[in-house]
Structures are given as structure tokens and as C-alpha cells.
């Protein structure tokens, strides 16, 4: 059993703040992804959990044990580094059992566990080789094997897939998910790749400027981003943001944006909690906008700029008034550049945000 409890972490390097203020509970066996742009403090947070960074403030509790002052080797963690950090002067086998040797595990037990782990990661045929004789993907497997052979309470991974080519990354992503199911260690995984985060994480903690801006399931952070940053960081292409305004009209609440008006559905109305006037930012994902080739009620008039086929669908860039939007449309929609089209937002999928702070209005997920 190893739940992780991060309490009020703070870490600075001189004047640079790496972690501003971070508290997070991670459940036993959970796969938690720390996601954010470079320099947001995600790797520092991971290294702090590992014990490789000294914190200015805050406590780290793993499995009910306060490990804040313990060295990395006594925390019950194992870590996979971005560079793999496989020991180049040792054979794969010696790499894998390095931690067991340091712990004084008897030799027969070492051999048994190494064989078991090698099978799990399909590197049984490589045990006699030196790391220089391995491909990048194989080295990565060795790094993972070296970590999970320890049967750690907590498995930490720092962008483990970022040095692999695209195809291998896709394959290893699925492998890591399978491994997590079989091994069951509480896993903290750092990445800047939102697709990786969405596909792997039980929960995703989105970080920015040393703080967690939102922590929730893949669906939650994708569908109901807590602010503009999350909406624009997650999703490819990112969420569209239009400036608009809300006003009351005959008992209804109407949203005016890009030269068109939309009646707000009840849930959104409720989320506004009494606000009936004012500037607002409308967040809508590209796939929640419907494109019509003839005028329709409540539709935004727009002009296409670019059309990019991306395989499963087309990505259309349109201009509506002064705003530029990205819309995904079916491949069979025939549109020319600079053609007039009409856009209808799915009202149920609109995310309203405060024009000044960029924070989502209404129930956070």
C-alpha cells in the first residue's frame, strides 16, 4: 500500500521558483500524470518525490511514512530517467539486479527476479549484452526493468518515451499501460505530451508556473478545462476561444459572440450563478462546432482560410469577424478556401470563462 501525499511543497533555485505551492494526494495503485510545458516544475516535483531535490518547504508522505528527510534509496521508490541512465559499464543483467545487490537480496533470489522481470519486458535475450549494443528502445526497456525489479511502492517516470521515435513511442505507451496493470505500483509519470497524458493517466495533474492548475481524469481535463491555459494546452488542435458577452433578453440568457447570438442552455445558465451581463470568453473544442454550407439560425457566419486533411478528418481554419477558429470537419465535406460557411456551436459543449482571469465559470470538475 503506498498512497503519496504531497503537502505544501515549495522549491526555489535562487530567485527562480520551480514549485510555487503544490499539494496533491495520489491513491495507491493510481497512474498519475504530471503534465505541463517545459519549466512548469513537473520534473522538479518528480525529483522531489524521488529525494533527488531538497525542498524549501513541505512534506512528502509515502504509504503513511514521512520520507521528506530520507535519501532516495530509503523511500521505496524506483525511477526511470529521461536519458534512461542505464549504466554503460555493466551488462544488462548487472544493470537489472543493481538495486537488488544494493539491498543485499540473496543471489538466487536476484536471478529469479531478474529472469521474471526480463520476461515481463521481453529483454530475456539481451541480459549478456552491454548497453552500447542495444537500441534506444531496448535500453529503455532495461531502464524500466531495473526499476520494476525492485517491486517499488512508487514508480516514478520522467518523460520515458521522449527519446523514442514516433512508432516505438506508440508501442511503448501501450506497454507501459499493460505493465502498470500487472505490477500495480503507484505511478507518477511526467510528460509534456498531452496525448501521452490522456492515454496513460488515471488522473492528470496539469501544471503551470510551479502550480497544479487542474487535476482530474482525462475526460475531465479535456471536456471541462479549469481555465484557458488547460483548454489551450490539452487537445490538438487546442480549444477555440472567442470573446463574447452575455445579456438577458426576455427571460432568456443570450450569448453574443462573433456576430451571432446563442441561447444558453440551462446548465450553463446555472453556472453563471446570477451574472446576467458582461464580457466573457467562450471556449469550444474544434469537434464541437458544426459546419453548414447554407445560412442557419443562431449560426456564426465565417469564411474558410485553410483546409488541411489529416487522415481521419479535415482540419478547417476559418475566420469569423476578427476571430480565427479551428474546426474539425468530415473528410467528405467539400469546401473551397475563402468560401462562406456557417458555424453552429454545440451549446452543451461550450465552456465559459472569465474574460479577465481566464478561469472557467461554474462548476469545476
Amino acid at each position: 500500500m503506498a498512497e503519496i501525499d504531497l503537502q505544501g511543497l515549495r522549491k526555489t533555485y535562487g530567485r527562480v521558483i520551480a514549485i510555487r505551492e503544490l499539494s496533491l494526494q495520489i491513491r495507491d495503485g493510481e497512474f498519475l500524470v504530471l503534465l505541463g510545458p517545459s519549466g512548469c516544475g513537473k520534473t522538479t516535483t518528480l525529483r522531489a518525490i524521488a529525494g533527488l531535490e531538497m525542498l524549501d518547504r513541505g512534506r512528502i508522505v509515502i504509504g503513511g511514512r514521512d520520507v521528506t528527510a530520507l535519501p532516495p534509496g530509503k523511500r521505496g521508490i524506483a525511477m526511470v530517467f529521461q536519458s534512461y541512465a542505464v549504466f554503460p559499464h555493466m551488462r544488462v543483467y548487472d544493470n537489472v539486479v543493481f538495486g537488488l545487490r544494493m539491498r543485499g537480496v540473496p543471489e538466487p533470489e536476484q536471478r529469479r527476479r531478474a529472469a521474471e522481470t526480463a520476461d515481463l519486458l521481453e529483454i530475456a535475450g539481451l541480459l549478456d549484452r552491454y548497453p552500447a549494443q542495444l537500441s534506444g528502445g531496448q535500453r529503455q526497456r532495461v531502464a524500466v526493468a531495473r526499476a520494476i525489479v525492485m517491486r517499488p511502492d512508487v514508480l516514478l517516470m520522467d518523460e520515458p518515451l521522449s527519446n523514442l521515435d514516433a512508432l516505438l513511442r506508440l508501442h511503448m505507451r501501450a506497454e507501459l499501460k499493460r505493465l502498470h496493470r500487472e505490477v500495480g505500483s503507484t505511478t507518477v509519470y511526467v510528460t509534456h505530451d498531452q496525448v501521452e497524458a490522456l492515454s496513460l493517466g488515471d488522473r492528470i495533474a496539469v501544471m503551470k508556473d510551479g502550480e497544479i492548475v487542474q487535476c482530474g481524469t482525462a475526460t475531465a481535463v479535456y471536456d471541462t478545462p479549469a481555465n484557458r491555459f488547460v483548454g489551450s494546452f490539452i487537445g490538438s488542435p487546442p480549444m477555440n476561444f472567442l470573446s463574447g458577452s452575455v445579456r438577458a433578453a426576455g427571460g432568456r440568457l443570450v450569448l453574443a459572440t462573433a456576430g451571432s447570438t446563442v441561447e444558453l442552455p440551462d446548465p450553463l445558465r446555472a453556472s453563471l450563478s446570477g451574472r446576467t451581463e458582461g464580457e466573457i470568453v467562450v471556449g469550444i473544442r474544434p469537434e464541437h462546432i458544426e459546419v453548414a454550407l447554407s445560412p442557419a439560425a443562431d449560426a456564426i457566419t465565417a469564411e474558410t482560410i485553410v483546409l488541411e486533411p489529416v487522415g481521419a478528418h479535415q482540419l478547417m481554419t476559418v475566420r469569423a469577424g476578427r476571430e480565427t477558429l479551428k474546426v474539425t470537419v468530415p473528410t467528405d465535406l467539400l469546401v473551397q478556401p475563402e468560401q462562406r460557411v456557417w458555424l453552429r456551436m454545440n451549446p452543451g459543449r461550450i465552456r465559459l470563462m472569465d474574460a479577465r482571469t481566464g478561469q472557467a465559470i461554474g462548476a469545476a470538475s
Binding site: 533527488l52 534509496g73 549504466f87
Partner: protein
């Protein structure tokens, strides 16, 4: 284009000859019989080789003793300079601390003062401390001379070994010291050995301080220079002595040239 290439090659040829020709001549002379050496005009290719010249040198008074002295001094120099420069090099490579850049500059600054200027005060100080004419005294000066080099090499060696490897070892249950001993040190060993050999060459070839600071306990270069300058040693002694001095340095530099290149930031892999 071809003209340019011709220029580069001829420059290379000239520089190569400038270095290699004296070495070649001294080698030939060291194996030439004594009477041929004194012939005039002397033939470039002696056509007759002998070990007598070298044996004569080796049997000359004090040569064996001086050779032993040189090896002894070099060994102490290696020990002392590693004791000081290896931890310093590790610290400079691994930690960012206040005064780090200043320290790095200060190490090179020791090269600013020519030994000639320092020799008299040094001799006086050594006489006072009872280090004059001792091998330890010579070794201390050689240590001071070699510390900048050893530090620079050690820094580059440790910089080339990713700190993440040590961190990985620590997450796997090693202490900091264990991580160093089991991961970093084995990987650093070839580079450190190169630094040690380089120090040996430095000490083996150093003549100025060794001459100033010793009278009876001469190292080999000090003995040879003294025999040549003060006693006017015969030609064949000079050639054989020169050859004897040059060979270890040459062989060693050849063996570690890869590491010496990386020292200047050129990576040869």
C-alpha cells in the same frame, strides 16, 4: 581548391618534420657506434648499429640512481596531485557553488608566474624548511606544476559522465559514496589513468625546478643537464641521454593522445 590543399599539406609536412626530424636524428645517433659519431663528415645513415652508446650512458655514474629518483619523484607527484586535484575536479564538475568560476581561474593563474621568477624564493624557502635537495621537495614543486593539468583533465572526465547515472544508483539504494565508487569511478578510470600518465611525463621531463632544488639527489633530467652544461659530457652521452629521456614521454603521449585531445574540447570517439 587544390592550391589550398597543397598549402595545408606542405604546412603539415613542415610542422611534422620540425617535430619528427630531431627525434629521428637523436634516435639514429643513440644507436650509432661512438667512433662513427666523431667522424667528419658524418654520414646521415650510420649503416652500423650498436647498443654500446646506450649501455655506456646507462653505466655512467649516477644515471641509474637518477632514473630511480625520477620515477620516485613522479610517483609522489602523481599521488599528491591526485589527492588535491581529483576531489577538486569532481567538485568543479558536479556542484555549482559560490566562487566556482574564480577557483577555476585561480587554478590556471598558477601558470602565470614563470618558474624562473619563483626559483630563488623557492630555493630559500626550501632551505629553511629542510626540503632542499630532497626528492619530496622536487615532488612538491612538480605537484604544483601538474595540479592545473590534472584538474582540467579530471573536470572533463567527470563532466563526460552523466550525473543522472549517479542519481539512478542512489534511487536504487546506493549512498552517494557507493554511487560514486560503483558507477562513476569505474567509468572515469581510463580518463583518470590518462591524467596520471600525463603527470608522470610532466614530472619526468621537468628539468628547471629539479636542477635548482637539488645538488646530490638529482633526477635524471637534472643529472643530464648538469653533466652536459657543467662537465661537458661527450657527444654520445648526450645523444643516448636525450633518447633515454624522450622515449617514455613519446610512448605515453602516443597511448593517451585521445584523452589529451578531449582535454581541449575536441571529442574523439
Amino acid at each position: 581548391m587544390t592550391l589550398r590543399r597543397l598549402g595545408i599539406y606542405s604546412a603539415g609536412l613542415v610542422i611534422g618534420a620540425w617535430v619528427a626530424l630531431p627525434l629521428l636524428l637523436i634516435t639514429l645517433a643513440a644507436f650509432t657506434p661512438r667512433d662513427l659519431l666523431y667522424q667528419w663528415p658524418r654520414r646521415l645513415w650510420p649503416e652500423e648499429f650498436t647498443l654500446d652508446t646506450l649501455l655506456f650512458f646507462a653505466r655512467s655514474a649516477g644515471v641509474l640512481r637518477a632514473t630511480w629518483n625520477s620515477v620516485f619523484v613522479a610517483a609522489i607527484t602523481i599521488g599528491l596531485s591526485f589527492l588535491i586535484a581529483a576531489p577538486m575536479g569532481y567538485a568543479l564538475a558536479r556542484y555549482r557553488f559560490r566562487g566556482r568560476d574564480a577557483l577555476q581561474l585561480a587554478i590556471l593563474a598558477t601558470k602565470m608566474f614563470p618558474a624562473t621568477v619563483l626559483s630563488i624564493p623557492l630555493a630559500v624557502a626550501f632551505i629553511r624548511w629542510g626540503l632542499y635537495d630532497t626528492l619530496l621537495g622536487v615532488a612538491i614543486v612538480h605537484t604544483a606544476l601538474s595540479i592545473p593539468f590534472v584538474t582540467v583533465i579530471v573536470v572533463s572526465v567527470f563532466l563526460s559522465i552523466s550525473f543522472e547515472l549517479e542519481e539512478a544508483a542512489m534511487t536504487l539504494g546506493s549512498s552517494r559514496a557507493q554511487a560514486f565508487l560503483r558507477v562513476t569511478l569505474p567509468m572515469a578510470l581510463p580518463g583518470l589513468a590518462a591524467a596520471g600518465i600525463f603527470t608522470f611525463v610532466l614530472s619526468w621531463n621537468e628539468v628547471f625546478a629539479a636542477t635548482i632544488l637539488t645538488l646530490d639527489n638529482r633526477t635524471l633530467p637534472a643529472l643530464i643537464i648538469n653533466s652536459v652544461v657543467a662537465a661537458g659530457a661527450p657527444l654520445h652521452y648526450r645523444f643516448a641521454g636525450g633518447f633515454f629521456m624522450v622515449v617514455p614521454a613519446l610512448v605515453i603521449i602516443f597511448l593517451i593522445r585521445r584523452y589529451l585531445l578531449t582535454l581541449w574540447g575536441v571529442t574523439v570517439r
